[in-house]
Subunit: 505 residues, 2 copies
């Protein structure tokens, strides 16, 4: 795929900017129906798209069919969010001549789309975190046009998907420019500097994300930048779970680490077990077939990290795995498992702690479960997930402090599951403190992701005729409106008296 | 006030970090009661604090008493928000074995406090945007400890307020370290670089805000930085309003520009009128007494901007005003009004467009009301507010496009009011695209400000015993819980069929 030319890029961003006010004014049901139309079009094209994705990414057919389905379901879920209208968080404060601080005007607030969003697609989910993926669906749901910078790992799939989805959206009545795809690394940087781009989203490496975030914040007009970067997703096995035997757990661990050749943001990089626990990964790992890595850059990064980890003093190999380059440059891998202990992790943190993006995970021996909460803060200050593996009928009190530590440093606390396989639902969080995310974005998976592409606008004493539909008394869109009537501040009395009844109780 | 020493600073941030998990675990009613106790303490101290504030800032007694009241009311409003619990945005997705993408785990999501917040206080609101002001109240409501970097313009007031409020909070049962005050410009920068600080808020100059934002984003672990920077708050007078006569409007304009010596983020810097309209500001301006400016830095900045504007070719003075420095260094001012036209604004934008923080505003002649929406985009891409002044019974259709342009480029659209005097309510927005704010913060006034200091955390398949109270089935805090039952995705059918009924309708 040739890089998008400067003229093409200017035209694409210009069209997106022109589409922005039109898209912002579409009724929620209209936008929702267009998202459903895009989902239908994607579903209808799956037999054409999956073979392209297989060729470009090396991912397996079943995985890609599932991912394509997830992507269309994601669009349908956001359609529900849009049609519901609660995401607009409409608040109406009636004028109050007797407000405690003096007469108060009428104030009506709605969340409005930020404007054209630039979305840097990821390599490892060619459907779900790419052209029509979660960031795109969330921005479109918010009412913002989207320019997707295609990942160089799957250009043909990106172009085809873009054509299909953009066509479905415009056929459904949304303006031309609602969705566009651009190509080229430098082209993406140029787009990020364009003053008409109002926000950006990114899923990828920590280094790449930090570089792009710096560009976004050093523009003459800085913009929000939501990056989902690195995460190593530690898993902690309780002593009771280890006592109950780790055969089944080891098998599930290997499956979670090896799926999609470990090229997932939620792959577990570390499995903490009581010292000496038997973790029989070899047999399961031996049955995992070779898997092609996504593209040369990721393969090279994985090879380097793997050699660095296996060459570290105090780290032993449990399963060597394999990294094999073919004549055509494709790299094929089998999963690698290593083992070390907490003392080595502390001593060699520069070599061992960083994410190894690919099928590699490290079993870590710990001596005392009471030290685990502090280890989370020390080694894993910002992660997408943290997991606790427990024994059946184990008393949760024993791992409550560990769960609290994980919650303080990551976006999702998992009990007796695996972090891979992220459900797309209202309550999902796919985010966390840096480096899991940068830009304070909250989540990039699940319907709460829509809020990143909205900003509040308040109308003060405006006549009904110039209000956006969501704020009008006749409420033509039927959205939830939270009203604060005049005189409501009298409820303070109850809070004041609560104080007398004993704070701290 | 001496600068906080490095040892003191380390102790203060350490105590805040220790307070963080304790504060996060307090029940909403307990935290709400503590905020009310802080408000009560502030109210009780007003007779002691206002004289200090008058001496340190030069602001008038009535203004400062009103501001102190606003500050305590603000704390009470946030107490209501906390007690209500809706701000936690609790979502519970039941496990769903039949979910369309395969079995779905149980997911429970809550918004958790980000951790210790560093709040850079402003000079121009020594109560409401300072130690116990809006950013502090919002962060405490979220459950985050706050370290306030006092503004050097009112150090004694900051110390006293900090003592009173911190004491009230701890007496009410919140942990030591919930609120602290630090002093010194470099000390603030050191604090911003401390890895234990999880987010920062700032109200002040565009230059200062950009510099601090860059520090926040270039830390080894970047953090969210919410800055409220510059705004010039244009006001547009419709031809019909001008035809109806601008005597009363001019008087109100002068009052809005001159109050607190124009040292307000929402002061109108520009009043657009039809060419040649009579704007009789001289008489009202002549009756405005001298006002002392807040401190030397602001006075110097105002003097420079005023001379630059009045010295610009094509800008005439309507009311010269005055800037007078006394022997003690205090600077006293009377309001300045100038007049120019759109062509000059365009030609001299480098000299004229930037904010002049103080009592100065520029009347701008325009030729065609149809050009106003484009002027908003050209001259005012990011503002806190934009205002339209209309005639009684004027058809709103005539200014709907202007209102839409203001909404696209600012946080608040005002009709027939003035931007100064920001109501503290649920629907208020005090924010806007850069440079009005940086960091995508939404609003720093009003109860929605709490959301800046929260981040989502999801628990997957966790036993009830380790869930935070807000997520438990027995819901001991009585917070709203939004539930997504299994099988709900069946509602997609209705959206799909809506499509067949005609999108775009």
């Amino acid at each position: 795929m040739n890089d998008t030319s400067p003229d093409e890029l200017a035209g694409i961003i210009g069209t997106a900017a022109e589409a922005a006010p039109i898209l912002a004014a579409t009724a929620p049901r209209e936008r929702a129906a267009a998202l459903v139309a895009a989902a239908d079009a994607l579903d209808a094209a799956v037999d054409r798209l999956v073979p392209i994705a297989m060729r470009e990414t090396g991912l397996a057919e079943a995985r890609l069919r599932g991912e394509s389905k997830r992507t269309s379901v994601q669009l349908r879920l956001f359609a529900e969010v849009v049609a519901d209208g609660a995401f607009l968080d409409v608040r109406i404060d009636d004028a109050d001549p007797d407000f405690v601080l003096g007469p108060r005007p009428e104030l009506r607030r709605v969340l409005a789309p930020v404007g054209p969003v630039l979305n840097f697609a990821a390599s490892n989910f060619p459907f779900a975190f790419s052209v029509a993926g979660g960031d795109t669906a969330a921005a479109l749901a918010a009412g913002s046009p989207v320019v997707v910078k295609a990942h160089e790992g799957h250009p043909e799939l990106s172009r085809r998907t873009g054509d299909i989805v953009a066509d479905a959206l415009t056929t459904a009545g949304l303006p031309v420019g609602t969705l566009s795809v651009i190509f080229g690394r430098e082209v993406g940087v140029t787009a990020l500097r364009d003053p008409r781009i109002a926000a950006a989203a990114f899923t990828g490496s920590t280094r790449g994300g930090i570089a792009l975030a710096a560009i976004a914040s050093s523009r003459p007009n800085p913009i929000p930048f939501f990056g989902e970067l690195g995460s190593v997703n530690p898993v902690f096995v309780t002593p009771a779970a280890a006592d109950a035997g780790l055969d089944a757990l080891s098998e599930a661990f290997v499956a979670s680490v090896s799926g999609s050749a470990g090229q997932l943001c939620t792959k577990s990089g570390f499995l903490f077990v009581p010292r000496g626990a038997d973790v029989p990964v070899a047999e399961s790992a031996g049955s995992i077939g070779e898997h092609r890595m996504l593209y040369a850059g990721i393969a090279e990064g994985f090879r380097t990290r793997r050699e660095e980890i296996l060459g570290t003093n105090g780290v032993e190999s449990l399963v060597d795995g394999e990294v094999r380059e073919e004549d055509d440059g494709d790299v094929w891998v089998r999963p690698t498992f290593a083992r070390t202990d907490v003392a080595t992790l502390r001593r060699e943190r520069e070599r061992v702690l960083d994410e190894a993006f690919g099928p590699l995970s490290i079993v870590v021996d710990y001596d005392d479960p009471a030290e685990l909460p502090a280890l989370v803060a020390e080694f894993f200050p910002g992660n997408l997930t943290g997991t606790i593996q427990t024994a059946p009928d184990e008393d949760p009190a024993g791992y409550a402090a560990l769960a609290a530590a994980i919650a303080a440093h990551s976006g999702r606390v998992i009990v007796d599951g695996w972090p891979t396989g992220v459900a797309v639902t209202p309550a999902m969080t796919h985010g966390g403190p840096f480096p899991a995310t940068v830009g304070g974005g909250g989540t990039s998976v699940g319907t709460a992701a829509v809020s990143r592409f909205l900003r509040p606008v308040t109308y003060q004493d405006a006549p009904q005729a110039i209000l956006p539909p969501a704020l009008r008394d006749d409420n033509p869109w039927g959205v939830p409106q939270k009203r604060s009537p005049a005189g409501e501040s009298s409820t303070w009395g109850s809070l004041s008296s609560a104080r007398g009844q004993g704070v701290g109780a």
